[in-house]
Assembly symmetry: C2
Homo-oligomer: 245 residues x 2
DNA sequence: GGCAGATCGTGATGCTGCATAACGAACACG
DNA sequence: CGTGTTCGTTATGCAGCATCACGATCTGCC
């Protein structure tokens, strides 16, 4: 336990440069509205030359991998933070907050959202065990936490669709065994559908397919969407007098 | 009204080449699991050289534009064909068939699906009036047809969420005035949510985020999803004894 | 303080793909 | 059987990815 800094001056400088590269890449993505970013452009924007970037990232895929990994964390943290700002007993409010965070993050970082939850990138090969599914797991865990909390509080009603196939129950047992005791297969199914609903709206809006709707109408539609998802899955329905998203 | 062929031999050959270029591009996209396709690869796969392709498409964007336009048509036709195979009076069946076609098309052509309804392509500039929103319009029109048919048959129940904001009603009046007489704003809102639900599941599955579910579980989840959407929007719920999608 | 080693950034280089231009081959038509 | 168009090729310029060798800078240790 020394008082010496955990990282040397050089390491800090290096981390700062890595961070600057990533943020510059994201800025360029935002400006050009694409996930296709060039080392040359990043370097030029930073006042450097392209080969210098190879000191920090092995190749373009490594940079993308890092951005995707950051995306996982950023999205997960945004969800956790939004839900954490609401009291544990207000499960409906937590759901609305998390859903709103999901939407807002996708709107503010559509390219990173596309990297993480959109179509897998071109030559991108999963580093270990497929991070593509990891994003799914991450989002699912946040949702699962909501449902588990609701179940423990006794405020988790039955889902609108009460039948669930044995195949779904089997997958729940295999991949989310920790929740099998508290969450019925039909509710697990409804949880997946809740995610799909949220994701569907978010994708449509983030990629401009709802631009023909006025912003106010989109907000209203989203709020209604969040309430519908709660209604369908047995979650407490968020209060309608508080703005969502 | 002559009996002469509408197209000369040369024109037919040209159209065939154009079609071959597009299908080769799609094949390469499928094989490489990306929307990023190179003229060089297309030409090589066709036993030609890259510059020859410029006789048929001004540049890479023009090819993408054509593929996107084809995507609109293909998706729209797939939906119309699937729905058309079901009797007009079975609105629930038509909805299930159309939803299944949406899903299957996205699964069989994930790259084209990404082009049409995913994130807008990099340097791609909308040729006229933004075809991005045109895809939305197209999909919406198919859905709107279902709801209008249900309304005319008197089998369209109330949506689960009966409140709709004035902003949504205004957008309905502005962009879909033809249906304002038969479709209440709350149902219009539910229609959008139905689309978002369908789109969300489709995106998650097409991009591999549901791969951890067994195929049988995914099928069951989708069937349940389609029934839930019908339930939420007031459409007749599809029969559960007929496989969906 | 000064030196050895590691780190960092640059210019030079090779490869590939996009796009254009100029040339030659094949075809339709009178 | 010529003539003009269409088509496909080779040749060229340009930009980005990736690597290498070199010089500059910084770190840490004696």
């Amino acid at each position: 336990m020394s008082v010496a800094p955990l990282l040397s001056r050089r390491d800090r400088s290096r981390l700062a440069t890595v961070a600057e590269i990533k943020s510059t890449a994201l800025t360029l993505m935002r400006e050009n509205a694409t996930t296709d970013v060039t080392f040359t452009d990043i370097a030029r924007a930073m006042g450097m030359t392209a080969p210098a970037l190879y000191r920090y990232f092995d190749d373009r895929d490594a940079l993308l991998t890092a951005l995707i990994a950051d995306g996982y964390s950023a999205l997960g943290e945004a969800l956790a933070e939004a839900a954490g700002a609401i009291g544990d007993d207000d499960v409906g409010g937590r759901w609305a907050a998390a859903a709103g965070a999901y939407r807002q993050w996708a709107r503010s970082e559509p390219q990173q959202f596309a990297l993480v939850l959109g179509m897998p990138v071109a030559g991108y090969t999963a580093p270990e065990e497929g991070p593509t599914t990891e994003a799914a797991k991450n989002a699912m865990d946040q949702l699962a936490g909501l449902f588990l909390g609701a179940a423990r509080l006794g405020v988790l009603g039955p889902p609108l669709i009460t039948e669930a196939s044995a195949a779904i129950a089997a997958c729940q047992a295999e991949h989310h065994s920790e929740m099998s005791a508290l969450i019925a297969p039909a509710t697990f199914q409804a949880m997946l559908q809740t995610w799909a609903m949220l994701h569907g709206f978010t994708c449509l809006e983030a990629y401009g397919h709802l631009d023909w709707l006025e912003p106010a109408a989109r907000d209203a539609l989203f709020a209604s969407h969040v309430r519908l998802a709660a209604l369908a899955s047995g979650l407490p329905v968020p209060r309608s007098d508080r703005p969502i998203g």
